[in-house]
Symmetry: C2
Subunit: 380 residues, 2 copies
């Protein structure tokens, strides 16, 4: 199918959000721009660099906007994301935040390093350092970052001695350049109360400092300390620990983060909902209920139910009804007509975005652009 | 990116499953063929037609194999799926099992009807019948099927009088041809005990019969009665109600269906696991744990945790660890080496398939083909 044919199917009434087939992934262009600018200004104000996480949006178009606002690069969760962004010209300052361990993946990493500037990846295991070092020998050196486990046992070294041993292993490899440390405190991001979140981060920061001091004592004071997230960004800069933030979700803001007090002073969240899904009523045979065309294949299901943002009366709620459908439960035995459009918010943006090939970018009800979800499905 | 470049990235050691980057969606070609043949033989033995549901696989390659084994067509959940299959030459006997209601979608439906043979779609609302009739006027007539609500209030008419009124509305439209009824008993599919499932289906069948008798009395005895599913297929044929089955999951078999007693006589399930995900260990710093590269973006999360099929010791279990990772919990403080390959089963196949662009089709450890997930993301 050509792009033109595809475009014809996606948009049947050119230029209007009303004419889009549903379910469709919508980005509010102005809200997105405000979010990007707000985080860029925040980072500048606090003297930290910004390398936003592209795993949220998987989009070269959005990455370019983040870079234009001052980001030093973007983070990628997987090598495949970084490859696709590089293909689209986002080829400087890429950082792969999850270990790259298999022989075929390491070969691809070396190829990516050759064609990009400032590529970094994390390591958490001496065997992986040896494999990367062997692959990089005689080639352009690869920058590596030591991943520190914040205590959830997902990735990272778990202690200062393990970090020092890894630093020494890196130093022994001519093809590798030690660039610093990463510690992403994922579990702390979603603590809804600000004070409790701050306490949890202060506890983690104390641990990270012991690792950094041990590295410094061994000659490996990190130039880069990368971490932080949308949920903790205000606390991250207070800690004075991170040289750069790898915040991701702030571009879109999902239900999980909107539930958190992000400011600690009762003020509104500094970011706003910029991502949503438009759906339509496809069946309406029971008073008080309306079936829409968005189910498990339209929303990630790991974080509860979608919220209703527009198009249904106050008090209406959404319930998943299988792969293809959702049910709107309407107050007062209300009804909605067939084909009526409803706008929903995603409980968790990142895996919801990963279900769609295209962002439909709107200003109000006007369709402004189609942006591909460039790295959709690139989980490897 | 050209297909060749993409292929080069997907498979780094040509021809071997061992060389695949992970996470990767794997189809066991022989198990798939046995499942397709077993259901085809079952339908033939019981004198029912087979129109398997393509929402499970979204693949023209698999649809063609089902047709070659005797299927009269395939079902599609959404219009977009049917369009993509038609693009790939699967253009006869398509049935869209969810209502098509918006003006732009109805225009696409008419275009699809013009270029395919025997297209059918469901209706459950007189307003939709009027809209379809107006669109079809003067064009090739469109075959429509009355959708009957099995009691879950998702789609379908809820009573015999409503079905008769819809039949009369269809008859009043020159552009529409009444073709029969659909009743998909989704909630009954996953009742694990066979006798309880049979009782539930007998109850639903009694209701469906009253609708059919009312339609017959009004001159609308249905030629097609479509429904049934993998969970109830043995019961569906006992009921003597359905002229054709729209079974879907039997091609792959997921954890939900493997948990059901499908035969009622204690015999093994007549279908076997043909779909799986290969993943790799990317971090292994804690005895008893191994982190693999497959999380929320590698598995649908609506039906529990993935099972471990191969590559880990007996007693190991999987736990989701965010978008990109999963944790294997290993017995006896065991360990697995970095890059070690583990094979997992999906708790729910349909939305898991929808996460991937490509099936990697294997026989044993030999890679035989790459099949695109042709209709991936075509939820509209």
């Amino acid at each position: 199918m050509t792009d033109e044919e595809l475009h014809g199917r996606l948009i049947d009434q050119q230029g209007s959000r009303h004419g889009l087939n549903t379910p469709v992934l919508i980005v509010d262009l102005d809200a997105l721009a405000r979010n990007i600018d707000a985080m860029a200004a925040f980072a500048q104000r606090h003297g930290v660099r910004l390398r936003p996480h592209a795993k949220t949006h998987k989009s070269a178009d959005i990455a370019r906007r983040q870079l234009a606002a001052g980001a030093v690069g973007v983070c990628c969760a997987k090598l495949g994301e970084a490859e696709v962004l590089a293909d689209q010209g986002v080829d400087a300052g890429l950082h792969v935040t999850s270990p790259v361990v298999s022989a075929p993946a390491i070969a691809r990493l070396m190829a990516l390093n050759a064609r990009t500037e400032g590529l970094m990846c994390v390591v958490d295991n001496p065997a992986n350092v040896a494999a990367l070092g062997a692959a990089a020998e005689g080639l352009k050196p690869l920058m590596v970052i030591i991943d520190i486990d914040p205590g959830i046992r997902r990735t990272g070294v778990g202690s200062a001695p393990a970090a020092v041993a890894l630093f020494e292993a890196i130093q022994a490899q001519a093809g590798l350049r030690y660039a610093g440390v990463q510690c992403y405190c994922g579990a702390q991001q979603h603590i809804e109360d600000f004070a409790a979140r701050r306490q949890a981060m202060q506890d983690r920061a104390a641990f990270i400092r012991t690792v950094i001091e041990a590295l410094a004592a061994a000659g490996g004071r990190p130039q880069i300390v990368t971490g932080g997230g949308t949920g903790t960004h205000r606390i991250d800069v207070e800690l004075g620990l991170f040289t750069e933030l790898q915040v991701g979700s702030y571009v879109f803001m999902d239900g999980q983060y909107l539930a958190c007090d992000l400011t600690g002073d009762g003020a509104a969240a500094p970011f706003e909902t910029a991502l949503m899904v438009d759906a339509r009523v496809v069946s309406a045979n029971t008073p008080g209920l309306a079936t829409i065309d968005a189910g498990f294949k339209a929303f990630a299901t790991d974080a509860g139910d979608p919220s209703i943002l527009a198009g249904a009366p106050d008090g209406a709620t959404y319930r998943f009804m299988g792969d293809e459908h959702g049910l709107l439960i309407l107050p007062d035995k209300g009804t909605l007509p067939l084909a009526h459009r409803v706008t929903l918010g995603a409980p968790h943006c990142d895996p919801t975005v990963n279900l769609y090939d295209t962002y439909h970018v709107v200003q109000g009800d006007t369709l402004r652009a189609l942006w591909p979800v460039s790295a959709r499905g690139r989980s490897r």
